[in-house]
Symmetry: C2
Subunit: 434 residues, 2 copies
């Protein structure tokens, strides 16, 4: 079996005006869909970050991909999984996911790895999770992912979408948003994107969520490095009683040293709420220092930028070895990424928390998966008894996504620029903000 | 595809009277050959440690194996790869490989994993290394493995074997043994099993080897924990100038704390010869302490007892992350294990040293691989362009191996008992001995 064709499809999907410490989501999120077509005309697919740079990085591999055996290609390209070295930490603090040059090679490798696995799975009739060691679960739990947001459902002009969830810039509105998401998808845990309003309002938001949902729904709060050590400790203390079982405090402050300081001070106050991260630790090179300083107790993996599913499995074993929990990071995405995340999670024993997903924020209208959106039921994605990732491309929908990409002016993600354009012309990302 | 049959074949193979700090090799080494036969009548094979306990542990899985999909079986059994917890360190210090109850489940899992991978590879027409991420090399380097030994080639009575290498109980005889091995197999590095004679004689052995082979042949010395910290430092210093590039000092002393003490004292003397181990660190649970104390700079992996090929890949990533080198451990084995080791090594990027192998000590007469012994040429095993492990069973030879097992009285490995029987009736393993 050889790879006879390699297609790269840049697409844009409508994205609601979600807020985070990075700024504001643009009306369109960019994604890239990859197809690897074998000489038997089987098609393997994957989905990754979008925009011009990502397309170029994939395109640069064309000569190595065409004619390759998909079983061997990942070995051949394996130098890419080591990623760049250097000051990973600072870089990820200041880059939104998908725009960090230090993970350009791991991101690009992952898109190829997943498409190879899908191609192999579809060729031999086996689900991807069973190609990489075998599933340890067939239902993968995801969290509701509430965001502060402005009014609007994403898209622009005549392409603007319905605003399913409405504006949410208060604790009460977040509670309503979560109730709506939970009613629709049955989520059993909540990951709350903070770092947007004054910490006191965000503490109040968590408290209201906790009261609304009861003590058995794990709550996680993620301000994306917006706080000082001082504020992080203050919030940590305020939340200690409110956080449900299984909750965590994610990236309250920037950098491994500051995370370690927060941990130390919370422990000194008898508070052992674990600190999670997908900012302070985003590659293997970050781990030794994080372990030495006990800076993080949970790592959010993401096959998209950690170098693929097998690297996530390596990370899981490493995390387990050092007593670190594992959760999963998400970015605006469609059903191909959702299924890749689910297969990766299904074959990763040491995944100790429900995964994040932005999927409820995407629109049916933009889905490129044949048959429409992948269901999230009882908070879980089911691994269907289908080969590969279990999903195939809807080429009409793909064509619409490409058209949308062509027509929109976005070629990279820049949440700061969107803030200036839509909310505050003088806005700058300042860390720490509080 | 389902597994329709599961066959467990205990065999015995002639083993020369090799010496180590554990004692003396018995005239027969015990191995177990596993067959998984699919409903399409494809046969997947593997080889692991031998004897009664190993057969029982495999047999206990029968109900879970029959009827299973080989792609899913490893996920289903994945709880076994975590192994036992507890005082791994002390245990491995006192148990020969294959007789450590703490790795009973990881050993047993690995035998099943490898047979599943061989079955899958033979079904889809792909080599095993390309099923687990893809090869990063197609030729895997192994080391010559000289041992002090008594006269004899192994086997008993009318089944006694020719003594290809002869007695070797002096530095000169080890040099001759190595020359003979290198001439036959082209090895480019040497792993010398020490811990048998007085350290001064072993230092002299290394010096003579170094002079005989030149400065570019990496030399490793492994006394299997026979020395005190004091002696380890003394030997380390004496060898510092003699050890060729890429050499290491393996398990000079018992336990992570003592290894750390040796490392610290050598560094204080300006000697940074890395310390390697397959005794102080034999499972993931051992690693955090070893890292915290900088006790080991090289880990010898072994898919047979670390829980299979994928766990070795996890270990490799972990080792790379923490700046630890990786080599590969060996035990008396035949061609199936050799090919499994080679495939595992071929698909493991961070394998920074040539692998150990006892294969030159085994006899053609005992090989169960169809077509006879796997060649080691220029010190390397080639990954052939053949599906699975690239080898198949010779059932006549297998029957002879089973007959040999039935006729010999050995049911577990006990090197101390062999020492008492053949060398010194009062011999006891004492650690540290020097």
């Amino acid at each position: 079996m050889k790879i006879a064709d390699f297609r790269i499809h840049p697409i844009a999907i409508a994205d609601p005006p979600l807020r985070s410490s990075y700024g504001l989501h643009a009306p369109y999120a960019l994604r890239t869909i990859v197809e690897l077509i074998s000489d038997d005309l089987v098609v393997g697919i994957s989905e990754t970050y979008g925009g011009e740079a990502q397309v170029k990085q994939l395109e640069a591999l064309r000569d190595q991909i065409i004619g390759a055996n998909p079983y061997r290609l990942t070995g051949f390209l394996s130098g890419m999984v080591d990623g760049a070295t250097g000051n990973c930490d600072r870089s990820q603090t200041w880059h939104v996911p998908g725009e960090n040059p230090l993970d350009a090679t791991t991101r690009t490798f992952a898109a190829i790895e997943v498409a190879c696995l899908d191609l192999i799975g579809k060729t031999v009739g086996q689900p991807v999770c069973d190609l990489i060691g075998g599933r340890v679960r067939s239902e993968v739990p995801f969290s509701a992912y509430p965001f502060y947001k402005h009014a609007g459902g994403g898209g622009e002009g005549s392409d603007a979408r319905d605003d399913e969830y409405g504006e949410a810039l208060s604790p009460e509105a977040i509670v309503a948003q979560v109730r709506q998401m939970v009613a629709k998808h049955g989520f059993g845990s909540i990951k709350f994107k903070a770092g947007v309003l004054d910490p006191e309002i965000e503490i109040e938001t968590i408290k209201q969520l906790h009261r609304a949902l009861g003590p058995n729904v794990p709550l996680r709060i993620d301000p994306n490095s917006a706080w000082t050590v001082e504020t992080s400790v203050r919030v940590g203390k305020a939340l200690a009683e409110e956080l449900g079982r299984g909750g965590y405090l994610e990236d309250p402050t920037a950098g491994i040293e500051n995370m370690a300081a927060v941990r130390k001070r919370l422990l000194a106050e008898g508070i052992d709420t674990p600190l999670a991260t997908n900012v302070a630790v985003t590659c293997f090179a970050d781990i030794p220092r994080a372990v030495a300083l006990d800076a993080v107790q949970i790592i959010l993996c993401d096959h998209h930028y950690w170098g693929g599913m097998r690297q996530v499995q390596h990370l899981a074993r490493l995390a387990k070895t050092f007593g670190i929990g594992l959760s999963m990071h998400s970015n605006s995405h469609l059903g191909i990424s959702l299924m890749a995340m689910a297969h990766c999670a299904a074959a990763t024993g040491h995944l100790t928390y429900a995964c994040d997903t932005h999927y409820p924020w995407a629109h049916e209208q933009d889905e490129v998966v044949r048959g429409g959106r992948v269901p999230i039921t009882n908070g879980c994605v089911k691994i269907a008894d289908k080969p590969g990732l279990g999903v195939e491309l809807d080429y009409d929908q793909l064509a619409r996504g490409k058209e949308r990409y062509k027509n929109c002016k976005y070629r990279k993600r820049d949440d700061e620029a969107e803030m200036r354009k839509h909310v505050d012309p003088g806005w700058k990302r300042v860390l720490p903000r509080w």
